[in-house]
């Protein structure tokens, strides 16, 4: 599994021990401590434990310098070896170190003067780097938390909604098997329970997630929608549906939601929250279509059967107008869909588009006509808006003309010779 998506965050997390390691190495060298060992301890121990230990231990080896010439000195030095400045109080008779509140030298018994004004004790080096490290170690996790909260709380995704009466739903449901399953689901309803029922189908394709809900509140009549919306939540978004009870037969509500995680259903009837029993199913119970993207799909060679969860398939490949179609295997179908979806759209200025001055344009003489149809569960269903692609070769380059999913006016994609050869190979067979 690739970790490319979280690389920047991992980089920032790893940056903290690196910064600490550099600081500790330089500081430990100045204090004549075992720099490599302390660097490893401080950088590798989790939660700054090693760093805290180092800060406690290093207190025994102060980083001192002469206040006069600012050269490093040891705590035991009586005078600075470079400039000769007097660093500690000393007995005037035997030159041994003494404390300021002593009145006599403990070694030679000489009387000590009350004040020695020529002493300038060594000063500690100002540690500005430690302040910066502290700011970094507090800011990085704080910013991470803000980023995560922003990601979870301010990315509610999007949703679409439609409603049908029971008769409308079953009239428009093209799949008989799904209609039967929905009827079986309805048979389990308990109108007196005062709860809602929902079927949920999860469609995932790479980073793209779609959730299809079919919701019904039995015994609550043909409810009119008062309010509908999807809002962000701390862990997952919330899908709110506020309805008013008007009596009569029940209705179906179909919701398609795009979000990173399945939204939580929050249903209210006449302003009162009602519980909802959600069942996750392996078919799309709504009348909303799934438009999949095969560009990131991976063919698993070891799989005994190629699983095409996206419920879309190539139904026909026609060499040219009115020529016979060829049958394609599931593997070929997969490669075709993957090539189609990964082909980039060409900008409108490209010469393959007809230009206002009459130049450019394409000529479909000897290409391939690809018809793609939806598959609902196990059945193939043709729709008027099915995908129809023309694949052609022009001046040594290969193009796909895709009229179904035009992208900002761009409807021509650039494809590869391999894709064209694959289509030719299918016809040769």
């Amino acid at each position: 599994m690739s970790i490319a998506g979280i690389t920047p965050i991992l980089f920032i997390i790893l940056l903290i021990p690196v910064l600490i390691g550099i600081y500790v190495y330089r500081d430990a060298r100045r204090r004549k401590l075992n720099a490599p060992l302390w660097t490893l301890v401080a950088a590798l121990a989790p939660s700054f434990i090693g760093f805290i230990i180092y800060l406690l231990v290093r207190s025994g080896s102060p980083d001192l310098c002469c206040p006069n010439c600012h050269q490093p000195v040891q705590p035991r030095y009586m005078v600075c070896p470079r400039c000769g400045a007097k660093l500690h109080l000393a007995c005037p008779a035997c030159a041994q170190p003494v404390e300021p509140d002593w009145i006599a030298c403990p070694r030679c018994a000489a009387e000590l003067p009350e004040q020695q004004s020529d002493v300038t004790p060594p000063v500690r080096r100002k540690d500005k780097e430690l302040g910066r490290i502290l700011i970094a170690v507090i800011l990085v996790p704080a910013l991470m938390i803000v980023f995560i909260l922003t990601r979870t709380m301010f990315d509610p995704g999007s949703s679409s909604f439609s409603s049908y009466t029971e008769s409308e739903y079953f009239a428009q449901q093209e799949s008989e098997s799904i209609a039967i399953k929905v009827q079986e689901w309805m048979a389990e309803f308990s109108p007196s329970s005062g709860q809602a029922y929902a079927l949920r189908y999860d469609y995932r394709s790479g980073d793209h997630n779609e959730y299809f809900y079919l919701i019904c509140i039995p015994g609550a009549g043909e409810q009119h929608l008062a309010e509908f919306g999807q809002s962000a939540g701390l862990l997952r978004p919330t899908l709110s549906l506020n309805l008013t009870n008007t009596g009569g037969s029940s209705m179906f509500y179909a919701v398609t939601s795009t979000a990173k995680k399945p939204p939580r259903l929050k249903l209210s009837l006449d302003g009162k929250r009602i519980p909802c029993q959600t069942t996750v199913v392996d078919y799309n119970p709504t009348l909303h279509y799934i438009v999949p993207n095969y560009s990131d799909a991976v063919l698993q060679e070891e799989a005994a059967e190629i699983f095409l969860p996206e419920r879309i398939t190539v139904s026909k490949i026609v060499r040219n107008h009115n020529t016979a179609a060829v049958a394609v295997s599931e593997e070929e179908m997969f490669r075709l869909l993957s090539s189609l979806d990964s082909a980039p759209y060409l900008d409108i200025e490209h010469t393959i588009y007809p230009q206002p001055d009459g130049s450019g344009g394409y000529d479909f003489k000897d290409g391939f006509d690809i018809i793609i149809e939806y598959r609902v569960h196990s059945e193939y269903v043709l729709h008027n808006d099915m995908i129809h692609c023309l694949v052609l070769e022009q001046n040594g380059a290969y193009y796909i003309i895709d009229s179904y999913r035009p992208d900002d006016g761009r409807f021509i994609r650039q494809t590869t010779g391999e894709f064209y050869d694959m289509l030719q190979h299918l016809f040769e067979e």
């Binding site: 599994m1 970790i3 998506g5 979280i6 965050i9 997390i13 903290i16 121990a45 989790p46 939660s47 700054f48 434990i49 760093f51 805290i52 230990i53 800060l55 406690l56 207190s59 102060p62 109080l89 404390e99 300021p100 509140d101 004790p121 000063v123 500690r124 430690l130 502290l134 170690v137 507090i138 990085v140 996790p141 704080a142 991470m144 938390i145 995560i148 909260l149 990601r151 979870t152 980073d207 862990l235 990173k260 995680k261």
Partner: protein, 91 residues
């Protein structure tokens, strides 16, 4: 802590610049330690939130982050015990 000093009964402590600097270092170390401990807790919280957020795309992340948190908590406990037993009050 009693802030006043009875100058008639007690002799005030003799202070030198060295002693004051030592006191300053002790306070700085204490302050930095508290800040680092807080930063460590914050980092663990951020890592756990990070693991949960990306659990969908990277199933190993929550387990890795949890392991990190457990190791950190265990390590911190050991350090706290050693620190207290080895005269942590003097810092």
């Amino acid at each position: 802590m009693k802030q006043g000093l009875d100058f008639e009964q007690l002799t005030p402590p003799v202070l030198s610049e060295e002693k004051l600097q030592e006191k300053l270092v002790q306070r700085t170390v204490r302050r930095v330690t508290v800040l680092l401990a807080a930063a460590g807790v914050l980092l663990e919280a951020a890592l756990i939130a990070f693991g949960i957020t990306f659990a969908g795309q990277y199933p190993f992340l929550p387990a890795a982050c949890l392991l990190h948190a457990v190791l950190s908590a265990a390590g911190s406990s050991v350090i706290a015990v050693i620190f207290t037993q080895k005269g942590g009050n003097s810092i």
